[in-house]
Structures are given as structure tokens and as C-alpha cells.
């Protein structure tokens, strides 16, 4: 789930930069107000772990590759806003250092994975709070699958959003009928690994009484 440059039209990444820019500003303000200094090392380690995990791609039959994200892990441990900023930083560094994902796609990745993924994970974690361990596992799974669904919809919308007078797509050319199964199905499996990762990280890093 790293969208390269040239896949999204300006009709997509322009507004996305606007929305993400506002949310980055809001998130940084909240971070200054609410960040517990004692949590900084744990947040740094979780962010670094997510960064490294996303670099390790696993090939799947059919020629595609997937990777664990750590989105659910960060969301469960640190919440939506901190997760949004941490994952935005991860995607920025990966784009600049390794060309994994494009700079034009950065706000879309931040919004779909950083915000959508963490929000879904936190919502599921809270909804299933009575059963802590399954809740964390489900949060990890949703933290991967929900961004995959959102990315599939963004990619599949490109032929509708950016095309020439004859209707020929100018950027990513495949519609939803292709992108949704192609992007989402492999991530249903990766989500399991992300769920396990979230449980392991929660047991190791979660502060307070929740952690066993």
C-alpha cells in the first residue's frame, strides 16, 4: 500500500494535501498539549518498528507483494492523533529515502492509513473493550484492512476523476471492479499478521493495568 507518483491525479492529491495539511496542524497542536513525555520513547520505538516492518515486503502467489503495517499497533497504544502523525512521518520518510510511495500520494496515504486505519482500529478496540486481547487483535486487523479498502476506492476513482475528452484515464486506469478485489483480498490475510503483531506489542509496550 504505497501509491507511487503518477498514479493519482491532481484532482485527488490537491484536495488531499489541503485536508491533510489542516489535520497535520491540528494533530501537532494536540501532540504538544497531550503528549506524555514518558510515552515518547515508546512512541518512537513503535513508529520505527512500523517504518521497518513496512519495508519488508512478502511476495504472494500471483505476483503481488504485501507487508505488515503496524497501524493497529500504534493506534491501540497511542490513539488516533498520535498514530496519524507517526504514520504520516513513516510514509514521508519512506517516500524520500526509498521511493516507496510518491510524494504526491503522501496525503492520501496519511489520510487513508494514518487517519482511517488508526480511527478504525481505535473504534474497534473500544467497541470490543470487554475482551481485551481479541479487541487488540481485531484492531490490528482493521488497521490494515480499512486502509486497503480506502486505497482501493481512491485508486478506482481515478478513471472517473481524471480523464481526457474521450474518457481515457490520465492516471491510474483501473476501476473499482478491479482495484477492490486486487487490493483488499491480500490485505485480509496480512491483517491477521498485523493483529498478532498488535497483540504482541500491546503486551510488551502498553502502560497501565490493561496490559497482562
Amino acid at each position: 500500500m504505497h501509491i507511487p507518483d503518477g498514479f493519482l491525479g491532481p484532482q485527488t492529491y490537491g484536495p488531499a494535501y489541503g485536508v491533510a495539511g489542516v489535520l497535520w496542524a491540528v494533530g501537532l497542536r494536540r501532540l504538544r498539549r497531550t503528549l506524555d513525555p514518558a510515552a515518547v520513547p515508546r512512541l518512537a520505538v513503535a513508529t520505527a518498528a512500523s517504518f521497518a516492518l513496512m519495508l519488508v515486503t512478502v511476495p504472494l502467489p500471483g505476483g503481488t507483494t504485501v507487508h505488515v503495517t503496524g497501524i493497529g499497533m500504534i493506534a491501540v497504544l497511542f490513539g488516533v492523533w498520535h498514530g496519524f502523525l507517526a504514520l504520516s512521518l513513516v510514509y514521508l520518510l519512506q517516500a524520500l529515502m526509498f521511493g516507496d510511495g510518491g510524494v504526491t500520494a503522501l496525503p492520501v496515504m496519511a489520510l487513508t492509513a494514518g487517519l482511517g486505519g488508526t480511527a478504525a482500529a481505535v473504534a474497534v478496540h473500544r467497541a470490543c473493550g470487554r475482551w481485551p486481547r481479541p479487541a487488540v487483535f481485531l484492531a490490528g486487523w482493521c488497521g490494515t484492512v480499512v486502509p486497503a479498502v480506502l486505497v482501493a476506492f481512491v485508486l478506482g476513482a481515478q478513471p472517473l476523476l481524471a480523464h481526457d475528452a474521450e474518457g481515457t484515464p490520465l492516471f491510474f486506469p483501473f476501476g473499482w471492479a478491479v482495484t477492490v478485489p486486487a487490493v483488499v483480498l491480500p490485505h485480509l490475510l496480512v491483517g491477521v499478521a498485523d493483529g498478532v503483531l498488535a497483540v504482541l506489542a500491546w503486551r510488551a509496550l502498553a502502560p497501565g493495568e490493561d496490559a497482562p
Partner: protein
């Protein structure tokens, strides 16, 4: 995303002739670019866009059963072929074309050094392990 395309590029010999029923035309300096997926299989059905040296779209289409696309550059410069996999993977390869319309070896986009990637991964893993050890103490 790596353009996992080990791009095999072949320059069809200058002057190679193709024939059809109503005449003959010469296909000079056509460039074939072959894309592969991560399994090394042909990137069949992947969409491609060819960009001329000015960045304008030159042609579009889908890779054939061998994962190949062909285009015929008409001027010197750095041409680009962008490829789109249905799952959102893909990438871009640059094809330098000289004054004789001969194509040089394709170059993947910059910024992809596998060994740096593994050094960074190893460094992060070591840091996480050290941090976990300190937390335990």
C-alpha cells in the same frame, strides 16, 4: 514500490521491416520494454503510459501476454514508461534515446538501494531490541 520490472529492453534493429496487405512500412527504432511482476512472471494486462521527453503522454495501453509494450520514439531525450498493476503497484522506467533514435539500457527510478534498505531495517530492529531490553530492566 519497486518497479520490480527487470526491464528487458530491446531495440529492434534499425530498418527492420514489417509487412501488411496494403503496403510496407518500416518500423525504425522501436523500443520494446518488458515488465515482470515480483514472481518474475509476465506483467500481462498491466496498463502502461509512455511519456515523451517533455513529459507529455505519447501512448497508452496494456502489456501483452509477455508483459511487453512497444513504442517508437521520434526524438532524442529521456523517455519514460509508467506501468500500473491492478493492485496499485507499479513504477516507472526511463529509456534514454540518442540522436540515432537508439535506446540505451533502461534505468529504474532513482532512490532504490536494496542494501541501504536492509541496513536501515537491521538498525531499527537492533534499536527496538535494545529498547525492549531496557524496558524489561
Amino acid at each position: 514500490m519497486r518497479p520490480f520490472l527487470i526491464c528487458a529492453l530491446a531495440l529492434l534493429a534499425s530498418g527492420a521491416a514489417a509487412h501488411e496487405s496494403h503496403g510496407t512500412f518500416q518500423m525504425r527504432g522501436a523500443v520494446i520494454v518488458t515488465f515482470e511482476d515480483h514472481d518474475g512472471g509476465a506483467a500481462e494486462g498491466w496498463a502502461f503510459t509512455v511519456l515523451d521527453p517533455e513529459g507529455a503522454t505519447w501512448s497508452r495501453g496494456f502489456c501483452d501476454a509477455r508483459g511487453q509494450t512497444v513504442f517508437a520514439p521520434d526524438r532524442t531525450g529521456d523517455w519514460k514508461v509508467r506501468v500500473f498493476a491492478p493492485d496499485g503497484h507499479g513504477g516507472e522506467v526511463m529509456v534514454p534515446v540518442d540522436e540515432d533514435l537508439a535506446a540505451g539500457p533502461p534505468a529504474p527510478a532513482p532512490g532504490r538501494s536494496p542494501w541501504i534498505r536492509w541496513i536501515v531495517i537491521a538498525a531499527v530492529v537492533l534499536a527496538v531490541i535494545r529498547f525492549a531490553g531496557r524496558m524489561r530492566r
